[in-house]
């Protein structure tokens, strides 16, 4: 009953928002086509693949987009090196969405399907965006619902499900003719099988030659999180160029608290080149039930040793270069860019240990690794 009331409230708020009297014109996104190749290497994991995006207007009121994305994964990660065997797999993701311009509002609806050998995720989403304050403010509200089906390669009978609900409010605000601020809130609730169907936790066992053994992880079946972010972008005349910064705080019912901040600079050279240099730092505390080494088997009702729920930080630097090239030979194209992006990220864990490095149980060196993230892509506007 409470859930129905809540959804009625959300629906009412969305309806009231759509019907607001405003006096500024919204426009649909530009028609474009992007072809991207991505590569991630770190912790003896390599993930590569393409991503294709096509967006096209249909008439004056509708814009549709489709995205196909692939992850080709080859993994010998720290978890694999600790208790499993290297593996390769592929994940395919396909998204379709449509924007509908109605009055001064853009309504967006879409669907995403992500499929891999032992995991299928489906997400449906709906959003509304509207400019107010004479076009100085853009407000976005969106809701998404996700359904996950989890399997296991080693056990064809294994089948679990999880549901997700995502609520988002976004705001971008023109402050001056050179300053733009953004605010975002996103609340997410999960229910169902939320742990990995393969991952193990370790516990002390004096009877074992190593001094420890492994058992399957066991997560709570619900999780609720909230994240707030605040960002700003300031125009600088030279170049032209701009500086930007954003920060985010996060907390959830598992006890994870996190924050991150990013600072960047964008520089345009002769309208042909665009350079973007940024630095990002992320920090989080561990989930309440996380432990690198439990004192005995089934030590708690919930067990987790995933490094993503441990205490850690990461710091990255990123450089993007865009070259705007002539497309005169193709009359149907308005513009084309060739883009290169490199991101170097350093991960340092504070309570997750590197078991393969050796040492007494619980005394192994703390885990750390560096990752290289590369993107090369072509963008065309038509």
């Amino acid at each position: 009953m409470a859930k129905q009331s809540f959804f009625r409230l959300i629906a009412g708020a969305l309806a009231a928002f759509v019907l607001l009297p405003v006096a500024h014109a919204q426009v649909l996104p530009d028609d474009r086509f992007d072809l991207l190749y991505h590569s991630y290497e770190g912790d003896q994991i390599t993930i590569t693949g393409p991503s294709l995006l096509a967006r096209k207007k249909i008439g004056q009121k509708v814009s549709v987009s489709a995205n196909y994305y692939v992850d080709e994964i080859s993994s010998a990660s720290i978890d694999v090196r600790s208790y499993a065997s290297p593996y390769t797999e592929q994940r395919n993701e396909f998204s379709l969405s449509a924007d509908y311009l109605v009055g001064e509002t853009i309504l967006t609806a879409g669907y995403t399907n992500s499929d891999e050998q032992d995991f299928e995720a489906q997400t449906a989403f709906f959003g509304v965006a509207q400019e107010v304050f004479g076009g100085l403010t853009t407000v976005n509200l969106s809701y998404a619902r996700g359904w996950d089906e989890i399997g296991q390669v080693t056990d064809p009978e294994f089948f679990r499900e999880a549901d997700r609900r995502l609520y988002r409010v976004g705001l971008s605000q023109v402050i001056t003719k050179n300053l733009l601020l953004t605010f975002d809130f996103e609340g997410i609730t999960d229910e169902g099988f939320l742990n990995n169907s393969y991952r193990q936790v370790r516990f002390r066992d004096p009877g074992d030659a190593r001094g420890y053994r492994f058992q399957p992880e066991l997560y709570p079946e619900t999780r609720t999180s909230s994240a707030f972010s605040l960002g700003g972008r300031y125009f600088i005349g030279a170049g032209p160029s701009a500086v930007y910064a954003n920060a985010r705080t996060y907390s959830d019912t598992w006890g994870i608290a996190a924050w991150n901040a990013e600072l960047g600079y964008t520089y345009s050279l002769r309208s042909k080149w665009l350079f973007d240099l940024s630095a990002r730092h992320y920090s989080q505390t561990a989930a309440d039930f996380f432990s690198d080494l439990y004192p005995f088997e089934n030590a708690q009702n919930f067990l987790g040793r995933d490094k993503e729920i441990s205490t850690f930080t990461n710091t990255g630097i990123k450089l993007d270069v865009t070259y705007d090239f002539s497309v005169d030979m193709f009359r149907f194209l308005d513009r084309g860019t060739l883009n290169f992006s490199y991101n170097y990220i350093m991960f340092e864990y504070e309570d997750f240990r590197n078991i393969p490095a050796g040492g007494d149980p619980g005394e192994e060196p703390l885990f750390e690794f560096n990752a290289d993230v590369i993107q090369v892509y072509l963008s065309f506007w038509f």
Partner: protein, 75 residues
């Protein structure tokens, strides 16, 4: 959580409804800088989406990681 989301939604609607007739303090002809390529919030959507995926796959935090997806008031 629900109270918080409801509050934000209602506040957004109230602010929007109450201020729809406010005179914009940055006039349309003053928005050239905001329309510049260097000021775009989501210049490369495919790349931005990929980087969100890279971060969310390796971090406990999730959500509120993208831009608002809105304009700069310079359309």
């Amino acid at each position: 959580m629900r109270t918080l989301i409801s509050g934000v939604l209602l506040l957004g609607c109230a602010v929007s409804a109450g201020c729809s007739n406010i005179e914009p303090w940055v006039k349309p002809y003053e928005r050239a800088n905001l329309a510049s390529e260097v000021m775009k919030l989501d210049r490369n959507p495919v790349s931005g989406s990929y980087m969100n995926h890279v971060h969310e796959s390796r971090e406990g935090a999730r959500g509120a990681s993208g831009s608002s997806g809105g304009g700069c008031g310079c359309n």
